[in-house]
Each structure stands twice: as C-alpha cells, then as structure tokens.
Symmetry: C2
C-alpha cells in the first residue's frame, strides 16, 4: 500500500492534486443538468456530484461549485425553480463532456454540442432527447456550504421519463441495460457490468443473491 498524508497532498501541483482528489471518491452518477434562463435560453451542463437524499419525499441533491466558477445552472434554477437531470449513454459521452467548456450565458450548449432538447408540457426546463433515463425536479432549497462557497442544491422529483423495458418486477430501474455511464475523477467515463443484486440483509443470516 502507498500512504499519503494530507500535508503531502497539499504540497502537490494544483492539477495533479485535483485529479487525485476528484478520483478518490470512486464512481459517480454523472448526468446532464438542463435548465432555462428567464428569457427562455436553454442551458446544459455536466455534473457528477449528484446524491440521493431521500425517497419519501423524493429528494435529490447536487453540489454546485462557487457561483463565480459555475454560474449558469444555479442562477437559472434560482430564477425558474425547475431543472432536469439526464443520464448519459455512450453514444453522446463526448458531447456531454463538451458541455463542461466555459460557454457564455448566451450560448446554448444544446446547439453547441448537437444534443437535442425535449420538453414536457407545463415544464420549462429542457430534457436531453437522447437520454434513456431522465427526470424533472422542482427546487426545494439551496444550502450554502460555507467552508468552500459551494452549494447543495436540493430538488424534489416531479416527472420521470424512461426508455421502455427498464423497470424490473420490484421497481428497480435497470440503468445498466440502458447503458447509463458512470464517471471517475474529472474526465473519466465508464460502462458497467452486473456483479449481483442481493436480498435485504439481516443479522446472522448469510446474504443471498436476487440475481
């Protein structure tokens, strides 16, 4: 095993350290966040720091970097209260990564990357047409993280769109069958292979596979 103390890590070059720290957490639920500005201009940006907060009520959070570094998504959400989260499939992973470029507020990442919008009636934020698993959210709360000026943006799911045939008998959504990708670090993208689903675990009983 290699050992590193935080004091050693702090002394490293900024980019080397950013790659190291960002990959330490393991594989992430990378997705495209769709929003719209007050004047109706669509925005699309890739986010990997997305987290399930609870199933009842249905709350999902994501970390938005400091406003200076990543202004558009959070500003649009504050103004319109709505956004979409769209899984990424391998056929558009390069376009998805391209949305991380620093486009200006008046540039539309859908047009810049060739991804297509999809709209639901009575919901302002754009979905990614190509995405096989996607959901719409209403803003619940923006929690400031005071230690580094980031924000935990909490939303409540209002709409879900899924490709046909992904839902298993017990409600589990087979994102592996949809070919949803996962990410590592700032720029690594991966497909998945099933290992197992396990039954609900109980003390003193050996855990069994569902599939």
């Amino acid at each position: 095993m290699q050992y590193f103390s935080i004091d050693e890590i702090k002394g490293w070059d900024r980019f080397y350290r950013a790659n190291f720290i960002n990959s330490l957490q393991g594989f992430k639920p990378v997705s495209l966040l769709g929003t719209v500005s007050e004047n109706g201009s669509p925005n699309l940006a890739i986010f990997s720091n997305i987290i399930h907060i609870g199933a009842d009520p249905v709350l999902i959070g994501f970390i938005n970097r400091p406003v200076e570094a990543a202004p558009h998504t959070i500003q649009n959400i504050e103004l319109t209260k709505q956004y979409t989260i769209n899984h990424i499939q391998p056929s558009f992973v390069a376009a998805a990564h391209q949305t991380s470029a620093k486009y200006s507020a008046d540039q539309n990442e859908f047009e810049e990357t060739g991804l297509k919008t999809f709209f639901l009636e009575n919901f302002k934020a754009p979905f990614v047409a190509e995405s096989e698993i996607k959901y719409g959210l209403e803003l619940v709360e923006i929690v400031p993280i005071t230690h580094n000026n980031t924000f935990l943006v909490i939303g409540s799911i209002t709409h879900v769109l899924l490709k046909e045939g992904l839902i298993q008998q017990d409600g589990f959504i087979d994102a592996n069958k949809a070919k949803t990708i996962t990410s590592l670090g700032l720029d690594g993208y991966y497909s998945t292979e099933p290992i197992a689903r396990f039954e609900y675990a109980k003390p003193g009983k050996e855990v069994k596979k569902i599939s």
Copy 2:
C-alpha cells in the same frame, strides 16, 4: 418512452417505490464507512450516498439517514470526530452488503462479516484491510437536512491509502484497475469498463480523448 408523474409514483407500494427512486439517480460511489465508538468498539456500514464537495480544502460529504434508522455511524463520528471510507472490491461485495443488516451497537460488523480491520497510528477509526483504495477523514460539520431529517456529514481527508500502481501520470487514480465497484439502487453492484478519458473542454474546440 414511459412517463411517470410524481403523483402516480406516490401511489405505488412502498418497497416498489423505494427501489424505483433509489435507482433513478444512476451509479453511485458505494463504500464502507468505518468508525469506532467511545469505548473502542469498531463499526462498519455500507453507504452509497457519498459526494465530492471540493478539492481545496479536500471535503467529502455523505448522507446519513435519520438517526432512528441509522444511528451508529453518525453517533460514533460525533463522538470521535474520525471515520474512514473504503472502496469495495468484488471479492468482498457480499460481506459489504451484509453490513447493511441492523446489527446492535455492541455487535462488531468486522467480526460478523469476516472483514479485517487495519489501523494507522494516531488515528482511531478502523480501515478495511481488504480495500484497495481507502481514506481517513476528520469531521468538519454535520448539516441537518430539515425536509426529511437526514444529515449531510462533511469531512476533510487526512490520510489516503492506495494499492501500488494505481496513480496515473497526472494524478488520476485508476479505480477501474483497482476493481472498485459501483452500486445502483439499494442492492445492485457493478464492475466497470473504461470508455474514455477526455481532455479539458473548451468552447468551439472538438473534445479529444486522453486515453
């Protein structure tokens, strides 16, 4: 595409809905959290809702369910201020899932599942000896999420332990080479296959692969 409104989802059976909602977010950085009680008893529990908050300072968060549902990890962290996060490899995925069983506070999940502890000098919380990528943290803040009585527990990384040969030239940690798994929903576990790493994206330039 199949469409579901939140009103329809709310009407579903509780377990079906929990499987559905928990898999909607996609693949997660599932890991084992190691803590120790005030009287020195080790605790180990599987968590998938882990999130990178920032690289400078190095902050990682995780969602702890309401204290009634998941008391031991958060209580140990409040008392001792230290914990470890350990990636899971396929050789011990069943043992890792088994830590989700409702053991009492005086039961030691390491003993119950056969996983081995590893300790660093001057750091109280136990690491999982079998884990190929693991890190120790000091508690920074516990942020209550008022909407559902969960908590965002924020920690600062102090120690990192990695298997030899995982760090690429630019600091990226190859968790795929370490065979770190990812999870989906409440009970699905997956291995990964590389698609690509991409260069830093810039407006107007086609994104290129690093590898």
